[in-house]
Symmetry: C2
Subunit: 448 residues, 2 copies
């Protein structure tokens, strides 16, 4: 029996939502693919309230799904087995930007866009950007170790977390928020909790690193002959340009589907989009680094509208593909040594399952991160056959079955492709050490 009155005594009656018409919104993810149900969504307003709610759940063996903006793509933040939802969105306090340390303290419930705006107002920037910025919260981004387009330069969310405050499964609070660059005083709890998908503790606040706010940007589109050539260019630019901030890949088929005109005179099979940003204009250093490439294969943009126009060629892929059918979407990483082989073989592998399907590929080549989108008549396939084939190929080629999105519920059946039985056993022991009763997000990440 769920003690709604006791939750209400902790967080206030209006923050315990039990009406199914309201809780339904907390029980489905934004793709609509993962739908559960919950007896209650509880919305604490402080770390201490989180602690009291979690302690009560632990005492009564009530399973809890922590939830932020609920923009995840792997079913990691919805109550698929009738768990209560612990919504962290009210933890939305943000501290002053500390100019000297280039850091800020942020509550788990803050949307990414608010952190970005706050950093900007303080003369700095935040190192992560992604499409769900208005809804995705800091806590959810920590739980999933969020990525995006700037990982190449600044690393993933884990690299932004300089300190962490969290509530343990038994309701105790741990807090290590000084944000010191050098601090060897025990195990790296901040790094361990980042990416743990709400299974080890409930993150309530973090000390975030900020990065310089660069006013000068330049974007270039390059036409190339294949993935291997694109990887060579990216490796070369990384060696030459400290200002390199993004390196994105797409192909002729995707560009054709997007339907925007290419600024390059010729048609190419492979396109590479790069962006540099610095305190002083990086255009000359980018131009020098690209001087070996034929003029007809490079378009450079410095003015904001022209830069945005180049980015549109890459960014419109997602919506354009969604418009022609519900695709299989797989978010994977390949090492550079096998990425070109993957690009060739994945198309053949998916076509073998459904000859009417088309496999669109694009992604963050600087991180080895490809988004695989297979559009076709899925009624003709055995369930999961496409996912199976793609993920097996990724694993065979030394890649990761989950680049940015995490494992959640969706990818748990395939985790064994990347992790040995020994590693999974270590994961279970760590989980048990943090959450002996198994109340925190029990259905995700670690297979039973």
């Amino acid at each position: 029996m769920i003690p709604l009155d006791r939750f209400a005594a902790i967080v206030g009656e209006r923050h315990v939502l039990a009406d199914p018409e309201i809780t339904n919104g907390y029980a489905v993810d934004w793709t609509g693919r993962f739908r559960g149900q919950t007896p209650a969504a509880v919305r604490p307003g402080t770390t201490e309230e989180v602690a009291a709610v979690v302690q009560l759940c632990n005492d009564q063996n009530i399973a809890v799904v922590p939830q932020g903006g609920n923009t995840g793509l792997v079913g990691g933040s919805v109550p698929l087995n009738g768990e209560i939802v612990l919504s962290l969105r009210r933890l939305d306090r943000i501290g002053e930007v500390d100019r000297l340390s280039a850091q800020v303290t942020a509550g788990a419930g803050l949307p990414l866009a608010v952190v970005q705006q706050h950093a900007d107002a303080g003369g700095l920037a935040f190192g992560i950007d992604l499409a769900a910025r208005d809804t995705a919260t800091v806590g959810g981004m920590v739980a999933t170790n969020a990525g995006g387009t700037r990982v190449l330069r600044y690393g993933p969310m884990r690299a932004q977390v300089a300190g962490i405050e969290a509530v343990l499964a038994d309701g105790r609070i741990v807090s290590h928020m000084a944000g010191l660059a050098k601090d060897n005083t025990g195990y790296d709890l901040a790094g361990l909790l980042t990416g743990s998908e709400g299974t080890l503790a409930v993150v309530t606040a973090v000390r975030l690193r900020l990065v310089p706010r660069f006013e000068n940007r330049v974007v270039a589109l390059l036409g190339l002959d294949g993935t291997a050539a694109a990887l060579e260019v990216v490796a070369d630019l990384r060696r030459r340009l400290s200002s390199l901030e993004a390196a994105e890949l797409f192909f002729a088929d995707g560009l054709e589907l997007v339907g925007l005109p290419s600024p390059l005179p010729n048609r190419f099979g492979t396109y590479l989009l790069v962006e540099c940003a610095a305190a002083t204009d990086p255009t000359d250093e980018l131009a020098a680094a690209l001087s070996g490439i034929d003029d007809g294969a490079v378009a450079v943009a410095t003015a904001p509208p022209q830069r945005a126009a180049l980015w549109q060629l890459r960014e419109r892929h997602t919506e354009t593909i969604n418009a022609i059918g519900v695709p299989h979407k797989l978010d994977v990483t390949l090492p550079p040594s096998t990425m070109a082989e993957f690009v060739d073989r994945v198309r053949a592998a998916t076509a073998a399952i459904d000859p009417t399907s088309h496999c669109y590929l694009f992604g963050h080549i600087g991180d080895g991160n490809l988004h695989v989108n297979v559009v076709g008549d899925h009624d003709h396939e055995p369930p999961d056959a496409v996912d199976d084939a793609v993920l097996q190929l990724v694993a065979d080629l030394g890649g990761s079955i989950s680049a940015e999105h995490g494992i959640g519920r969706a990818k748990r059946p395939w985790l064994h492709l990347n992790r040995s039985e020994t590693e999974l056993d270590v994961f279970r022991r760590v989980k048990h050490a943090f959450d002996p009763n198994g109340i925190l997000n029990p259905s995700v990440l670690v297979p039973p």
Copy 2:
């Protein structure tokens, strides 16, 4: 009873050292402050041999101290309670530099200098440098999350570890070495093992990130009026210069002791040394960033001998201070918000304990990392009184009692200053999850 014959059956007779004349060298750290004794130093040559030795120790409840170059400063790698020493130095294989991923696979026993030379030969560089480079090993640097002068730009050792192979306490091997920039497939074992001081597993190999090898460097020495001014300059340079690689602090008293002439016309109380490195000459951008500072307070060097001469002013501090007496050495981090206050108060605090003592301060200001060296007639002090006073002040001001060196045995009595009882309990649970019999480096890091 230590089964020397069974160790010999695994690693070969000549790699089981039991003669005290030889094992003594494995039982004392290089400062001579920590001396123990061991029944045997066992030197496995492969990961599989490490696994077999550790499994045997686990089965027979034999405590093990993993040891690399034994250059640690906190007594973390010597057998203080009669443990066997597991020397990893024979694990010295290194893979080809992978230009496309900018990574290399390195065995735990490789000295840092070998990794640096190997990266250089492959057209890249390694992001960590420190004085013990010829002896300190990769495995030891992982175990202690080593730092050094380039953390400002590249982060500590944890940021260089893209993949890890390790032997668990029960002898099983975990390996996740693909080195993918985006890889959200479970808990961050690499990050957790980094900095765990040999207490959770034995690191046998790592996949290391490499960084560009920059040919163009510029060094500047700035004379300033106090720590607060130095912090402002560093924060400003970080916002402007992607090429900033080091920011080091020292003071007039230290410079006078070092005895080298300052290139600045006037005497200053506080000195800041900065270095920039880039693929193209960073001199102009550094000069532009320093244009607000009076000419008489800046010396810039671009040629290697002049750059080295400026670095000598900072680097000679350690040996010069050691030459006038055995100092209390404390390696701490302060947040920028309290560093200036610390600099003022720590001198008063140590003088109050021993009025004849002198407190020299210098360090990596870009990371908040100060080295506190107190020279005086220690016979006049109660044992640990100086350490107590300094570390208590650090903790009071929100700093870390161990910046680079770790906790080991030396700082364990003070760990409670930085970590709550709840955090220490979490550490113990994690330790137990990895090493239920407590055989791995049982006397360090986590207080019993």
